[in-house]
């Protein structure tokens, strides 16, 4: 029998007892549907993270800190008192939780720039803003973040702060607009924002800046709900904050940004990180910082997939059952085909193809239904629950994964079909054709 005829016979055989085929395929359908949706969830969220990463546009930057060798993170917490180190600071950014880092000094910055592969080093300066206000508004607490060259914000109105401008420019989170006394974002553009910082002697200093835009936080943005200042504003704030502190004391930074070649390969980046850690620093890319996030999502998707696979295994017993019944019913037909010279291999092929086809039927319909409903669900959610995360398509489908799901299910169905198919292949034509 030709392979083509074998396949078409298998397909038409599955339609002989329609109810049975439909019920069997239904079980497969449920598994395929679940598997596609859970994978779609992973694809959607991870694609969003990737997109956001791209949007941030700082793939060529490492955030560098200097870990305190006396405290190495989890599990190493010694109960003994530690020696005081005047440069050791606790920062909630950059280092592993539970580990403290040593502040970077100008010498450190020099050392960093001398490391092979480092193109530029910029210290990340920490400014603690007491409050912000507009002319008539109340005082609001705010976080301040500097913007790195090449970094982009999720601007909702106005523009990004100009890093090279000599005037003070600031972008505020869209959520501040109303509190600061404006009805909509476009009205606040061009207004003056007053930021107040305190120096070491608790003397307050005010700095004015022009509001040039509003931004919406993105899931993966390290800036979060921060007010973003341009370089000249940051300079002014740092200067105000350091009033009265000796210059050498003032130059202490929790972390620094290190630029490397934009076309660096992952191997190059790893090599650079190794050189940094040899010199006693630790460097993380934005991707590294978000890597944990992706790992968690992958883990959740894996667990959900586990449930879907359990459903599929249950469904595969349905296939075994259906085909065993079919083999039983068709003993005569199998006997006749063998009497007419059909080889056992072809008989096996015929029945396992039937199983595979049932698998294909259930999975194709299941995947199709999942894509339709997944798309509808994400569309609905992005307008309601997830409206704050623009660009997030919660459930997304990638053709390769979808094809793999269908193929895997067909594979499972094939395996389920081997038992009945082997039974059919073993059937003895004489016994099958006997009648009395």
């Amino acid at each position: 029998m030709k392979t083509r005829d074998l396949v078409s016979s298998a397909i038409s055989n599955t339609f002989r007892s329609k109810t049975r085929t439909v019920l069997t395929a239904l079980a497969i359908f449920i598994g395929a549907f679940t598997l596609t949706l859970t994978n779609g969830l992973g694809t959607g969220i991870n694609a969003y993270i990737d997109d956001t990463l791209e949007g941030i546009g700082v793939s060529d930057v490492l955030t560098v800190t200097k870990p305190d060798p006396s405290s190495v993170g989890f599990g190493a917490s010694s109960t003994e008192p530690q020696l005081y180190d005047p440069d050791s600071i606790d920062v909630d950014q950059g280092g592993a939780p539970g580990s403290s880092v040593i502040a970077l000094t100008p010498e450190d910055l020099d050392e960093l720039s001398s490391i092979n592969g480092v193109l530029d080093v910029q210290a990340v300066r920490q400014v603690t803003v007491d409050f912000v206000q507009t002319a008539d508004s109340e005082l609001y607490v705010a976080q301040l973040a500097g913007i790195l060259e090449g970094q982009s914000l999720n601007i909702t109105a106005g523009r990004e702060p100009d890093t090279d401008a000599t005037t003070h420019e600031v972008v505020i989170p869209a959520s501040y607009v109303e509190s600061l006394g404006f009805t909509d974002a476009s009205a606040i553009i061009g207004e003056t924002l007053t930021l107040q910082v305190s120096d070491a002697t608790r003397t307050s200093h005010s700095v004015d800046a022009e509001i040039v835009g509003t931004s919406e936080p993105t899931l993966a943005s390290p800036l979060g709900e921060s007010i973003v200042a341009n370089t000249s504003l940051t300079d002014a704030l740092v200067e105000a904050q350091n009033t009265g502190i000796p210059a050498e004391q003032a130059e202490r930074y929790p972390q620094a940004s290190v630029w490397f070649a934009a076309d660096a390969s992952p191997e190059d980046i790893t090599a650079l990180k190794d050189r940094l850690s040899d010199a006693g620093y630790s460097g993380l890319t934005v991707e590294d910082q978000l890597g944990t996030f992706t790992t968690v999502i992958d883990g959740i998707v894996l667990v959900l997939n586990g449930f879907a696979v359990i459903a599929l295994i249950a469904a595969s017993f349905g296939i075994v059952n259906t085909l065993l019944m079919s083999v039983q019913e068709r003993t005569r037909e199998i006997g006749l085909m063998k009497a007419m010279g059909m080889g056992s291999g072809k008989v096996f092929g015929l029945f396992s193809l039937e199983a595979t086809f049932i698998g294909f039927l259930g999975s194709a319909v299941g995947v199709f239904a999942a894509i339709i409903s997944g798309t509808a669900i994400s569309a609905a959610l992005s307008e309601s629950l997830l409206a704050d995360l623009p660009g997030l398509q919660l459930i997304a489908f990638d053709p390769a994964t979808t094809a793999v799901i269908i193929l895997v299910i067909m594979g499972i169905a094939f395996l389920a079909g081997t038992l009945p198919a082997a039974r059919a292949a073993k059937a003895d034509p004489v016994t099958s054709l006997r009648y009395e």
Binding site: M1, A339, M340, M342
Partner: protein
């Protein structure tokens, strides 16, 4: 090409083992010539079907020698065996073994499909076989919708479609009323007379047996009436 299409010597067939062993054929020897019509005749349970199955290579004998066209059949295995079953033999059974929901044409062309013949060639040869049995107008009907006589003609068309050199018919008229049975018999004997197809009919019907060139009478697994083995 030898004149003798089957040479059978001391053929035995035992079913089961040990205590349950049952010897259905207890050593039969005969020859069948090309183009002959042979009746295997005997009471129910005498071993007729067993003998036919062994001759048709559907079942292996326990011992004895069986040659088909001068070839020792024990040397036929796997692919070769399947090719012989497919190309040399045609089968007509008492029960029709048609696939009820497939069309008449699909049922008839099953042996060609197994042989790997292309779809268009299958159609052509299938229609030719149906025309020969005056069933070409029923080609697209479902097999289930045919009368008993029509079904048996479809079965004969299926047996013919591969241009076999031997047709085995096991109680071919057992399920038919006598008028329809007579028509089916005529068709089979026509094929024997005009196409030179060797016809081996298993029956307990003396009248049908009498129409054959020779009768092999079997009783309890042994041939009786050896005199009839001489060509009539």
């Amino acid at each position: 090409m030898t004149q003798q299409i089957f040479t059978v010597h001391d053929l035995r067939k035992t079913y089961g083992h040990g205590q349950n062993a049952f010897e259905a054929l207890k050593g039969v020897s005969f020859t069948i010539d090309r183009g002959e019509s042979i009746a295997i005749l005997g009471k129910s349970g005498s071993g007729k079907s067993t003998l036919m199955h062994v001759l048709a290579l559907l079942d292996a004998p326990t011992s004895g020698k069986l040659s088909l066209d001068g070839v020792d059949t024990t040397s036929l295995r796997g692919k070769n065996l399947n090719a012989v079953r497919n190309k040399t033999f045609g089968f007509v059974f008492q029960q029709f073994f048609l696939t009820p929901n497939a069309t008449v044409l699909e049922n008839v062309t099953l042996p060609l499909k197994i042989a790997g013949v292309s779809a268009s060639e299958r159609r052509r040869r299938g229609m030719e076989a149906l025309r020969q049995l005056e069933l070409d107008d029923k080609a697209k009907n479902k097999a289930v919708n045919l009368s008993g006589g029509q079904k048996q003609r479809v079965v004969i068309a299926r047996a013919l479609v591969n241009n076999p050199s031997i047709i085995f018919a096991d109680e071919p008229t057992g399920n038919l009323d006598s008028a329809t049975g007579a028509v089916v018999e005529d068709i089979l004997f026509d094929l024997n007379a005009q196409n030179g197809i060797t016809l081996i009919v298993v029956t307990h019907d003396e009248e049908l047996a009498a129409r054959c060139d020779r009768q092999l009478r079997i009783r309890d697994g042994l041939l009786v009436d050896e005199t009839l083995e001489v060509a009539a």
